[in-house]
């Protein structure tokens, strides 16, 4: 047994050490695999980053109420009466003076200019109250100050500043007949709220002709995740045609928007892998054929065909894993942390950063490994079955 192992080890080391003789063919395989892995990981890190941003936005302690069937804040609409009824529901946390903690909000869309393309894009402007501000986790004003209720003032999320022009601190913006001023910037720890502009809800109602209507209500739950009390109130009242869910659920649903992209990324990468596999097979068959007399000689002096098989297979795996690591590193260097924005479910831009997580890294290496194993198996088979006579026939 140990003889077998030492044989295998000898052949593996010999193959690896002779790689420089076949440097170009080997590099071609490494390169092809690294490109495939880089493409796959770029796709996956994009989707992962988008999902992380949205999942990090929703809180289990906050419920969001929308008009039934609207599926996004933009489409929803609620009257003042509906807001008042819902605010009496059981299960809403109370403040010190025993008032329910809730925030009726508006969600209107305004134009911004996307830096990378210089085209107009949809940005969400949220009508919010100071109570609503307090409902967000990790929220803080990072420059300037908070808007003063009643004034035409806007505070801008840091994601907006990063990706779009037109909302820099101190800038005046005209919506219809009225001028608004950007008085501050805020951060919410990288969540999707940073892609928004915030202004006083009542001022937005007036300036955007919304009367006394709102679009959504956010409520702090007395038991995290438990919306049963609110749901019961809605179900029992025929005037209320509303949906309630935790904010976490709401944003997780929105994060699924790019799910199709994952499939697309995988399909493309797998099709490309077939091309890279052809390259790997080519490399390994060449490797076997250039070493044919060497392999046969080893066999002639008593090495097992298993050692020939494993030696070739390991060579292929080493090349492919090398390619996988290079591809993952390239993808990490260029993609991880890259800021981008896309259209979210509420028809507005969501700013997110690419996120190449360790699990994705594993997927990339796994794909490389599969290419390496398949690409090495058949040539290794050939090597193992190489007749000993070859050692003498190809006497050069």
């Amino acid at each position: 047994m140990s003889k077998m192992l030492s044989q295998i080890w000898a052949v593996v080391v010999m193959n690896i050490r002779s790689l420089p003789q076949r440097i170009w063919m080997s590099l071609a395989a490494v390169f092809a695999i690294s490109v495939v892995v880089a493409v796959l990981l770029s796709f996956l890190s994009m989707v992962k980053g988008f999902q992380h941003t949205l999942e990090g936005t929703g809180s289990e302690e906050v419920a969001i109420v929308t008009r039934s069937g609207s599926r996004s804040e933009l489409n929803s609409s609620l009257s003042r009466d509906e807001v008042n009824i819902v605010s009496t529901a059981p299960g809403i946390a109370k403040d010190e003076s025993d008032n329910p903690i809730y925030s009726p909000e508006l969600y209107v869309v305004v134009d911004g200019i996307k830096r990378s393309s210089q085209t107009e894009v949809n940005l969400p402007m949220r009508g919010i109250s100071l109570a609503g501000f307090a409902l967000r986790d990790r929220v803080e004003i990072t420059a300037g100050r908070m808007f003063i209720p009643g004034n035409n003032e806007i505070v801008v999320g840091e994601g907006v500043l990063r990706e779009f022009d037109g909302f820099e601190l101190g800038k005046k913006i005209k919506f219809g007949k009225t001028n608004w001023e950007v008085v501050g910037t805020f951060s919410t720890g990288g969540s999707a709220f940073e892609s928004e502009l915030w202004a006083d809800a009542r001022t937005v109602q007036t300036q955007f002709q919304r009367g006394s209507s709102f679009q959504t209500i956010r409520l702090r739950l007395s038991n995290p995740g438990d919306v049963a009390g609110i749901k019961k109130l809605i179900d029992d009242d025929p005037r209320l045609i509303l949906d309630v869910e935790t904010e976490a659920d709401y944003f997780a649903e929105q994060g699924a928007a790019l799910e199709g992209t994952i499939g697309f990324g995988w399909i493309i990468s797998i099709v490309m892998s077939l091309g890279a596999l052809a390259g790997a097979l080519n490399t390994m068959y060449t490797s076997v054929s250039t070493r044919a007399s060497e392999i046969a000689t080893l066999r002639a002096i008593g090495f097992s065909n298993l050692s020939a098989f494993i030696g070739t297979l390991v060579e292929s795996i080493v090349l492919s894993v090398l390619g996988g690591i290079v591809g993952a590193l390239v993808s990490f260097a260029f993609m991880d942390g890259l800021s981008a924005s896309t259209l979210g479910a509420s028809f507005t831009q969501i700013v997110f950063t690419f996120d190449l997580t360790p699990e994705l890294f594993q997927s990339g290496i796994a794909l490389a490994l599969i290419i390496g194993v398949v690409g090495g198996f058949f040539p290794a088979w050939q090597a193992a079955r190489l007749p000993v006579i070859v050692a003498f026939r190809r006497g050069n």
Binding site: V39, S117, V121, G176, L274, G279, N282
Partner: protein, 384 residues
């Protein structure tokens, strides 16, 4: 012995290697054909937009409303052929996830401004006269099995009727075709009046206006006239050529062109390396033979051409097969029940494919061809 025969013999001496390089090329061109067809389809909204068409939206953003009174004011402006106003209905069929692109429009002017929507005379009359009419595009009709005479329920994820229901019923009076293969036929159109009278809030507002000018040369003048008319009102307008509007709309999703372009580039890069390498290798293995051929009197330029011919042949076989199969992919996509723009492999894609095939063949063949050209007989024979 003809050169072609020799090229063929050289190519097929290692059938497995030939198969692998052809296969790699095939994959790259399959990706190229399918992805580019997809990209062209995404861009078709921009490509097909009419030069004499403008879009007027609220200056704040196109999702903000405009008063319906604007329509008649705009119609009076000189240089305008027709105006149709539209509202986004937020439609879906049965399940909120089955979105239907539904527009509530002015039924009398829609087909004049958007003349790529093709209906028969009878369908057109029924569309204009039945206030509960809906006309549906061929593609969406096929997906949901709708036909003329059906009465279909459409829900709105934005609006509700006065009784609180979000379901409206419509009579399918026409299934429209597109003037071009890639014209959008995923949309459906309903009467604005019916929608406006039955919905419970936000009445008498329109979403935007589609405008046809008498001549593209008048566009600038018309744009200026419209936007100046409403300056300093609560509802200021922004009028842009349809092409610019569609382009900005598509770019909201992100730089998809860049992503798709990078995929194709990556695929080409892979085969460039794989095929190039195996060409170098196969010529190097033949050093001896090339020496013999030169000794026999084969001119260097002839050997040069033969090596290039070999790499070109690999590129053409693999590339040709790849492009052929991408027709199959496009066919499958177009017949799948999904709301995607129509994919077409047009002559431009084909021509570019030919250019890439030729380029690939030349690039992968040039290094070994040059080394074969320069090969000195003495070295060649002594190297063996």
């Amino acid at each position: 012995m003809s050169d072609l025969y020799l090229i063929f013999k050289n190519l097929t001496r290692k059938p497995l290697r030939l198969f692998l390089t052809v296969f790699a090329t095939f994959i790259a061109f399959l990706i190229y054909g399918s992805i580019t067809a997809f990209q062209v389809a995404l861009d078709s909204g921009v490509e097909l937009s009419a030069d004499d068409r403008l879009v007027t939206v609220n200056k704040i953003n196109f999702t903000q409303p405009l008063p319906i009174s604007y329509v008649n004011k705009v119609k009076a402006i000189e240089g305008i052929e027709g105006v149709v106003h539209m509202n986004w209905f937020g439609g879906y069929y049965q399940d909120p996830r089955q979105q239907v692109l539904t527009f509530a429009v002015d039924q009398d002017s829609l087909l004049d401004v958007y003349d790529e929507i093709l209906l028969s005379e009878e369908e057109r009359t029924n569309w204009e006269q039945n206030r509960q009419a809906v006309i549906v595009g061929q593609s969406i009709a096929q997906i949901h099995g709708w036909k003329v005479g059906d009465r279909i329920p459409l829900n709105s994820n934005i609006f509700s009727q006065q009784d609180g229901s979000s379901t409206w019923e419509f009579d399918v009076v026409g299934v429209y075709k597109g003037a071009e293969a890639q014209t959008d036929t995923n949309s459906v159109y309903i009467h604005y009046k019916y929608f406006n009278e039955t919905q419970s809030f936000g009445g008498d507002y329109i979403g935007w206006m589609g405008i046809r000018t008498q001549d593209p040369a008048l566009n600038e003048q018309v744009i200026k006239a419209i936007d100046e008319m409403f300056v300093n009102t609560t509802f200021e307008t922004e009028t842009v050529p349809e092409k610019a509007f569609n382009k900005a709309f598509i770019e909201q999703a992100g730089n998809i062109g860049l992503i798709l372009g990078s995929i194709v580039a990556a695929a080409f890069f892979i085969i460039l390396v794989i095929v190039g390498n195996s060409m170098v290798l196969s010529v190097r293995e033949r050093t001896n033979e090339i020496g013999v051929m030169k000794t026999l009197g084969f001119q260097s330029s002839r050997i040069f051409r033969m090596v290039l011919g070999e790499s070109l042949l690999v590129a053409f076989i693999g590339g040709g097969l790849g492009i052929t199969l991408s027709y199959g992919v496009v066919f499958l996509f177009n017949n799948a029940p999904i709301q995607l723009p129509v994919l077409v492999i047009n002559s431009e894609i084909l021509l570019r494919a030919l250019a890439y095939i030729a380029g690939l063949g030349l690039i992968t063949g040039i290094i070994p061809a040059v080394s074969a050209l320069r090969l000195n007989i003495i070295t060649a024979l002594s190297r063996g």
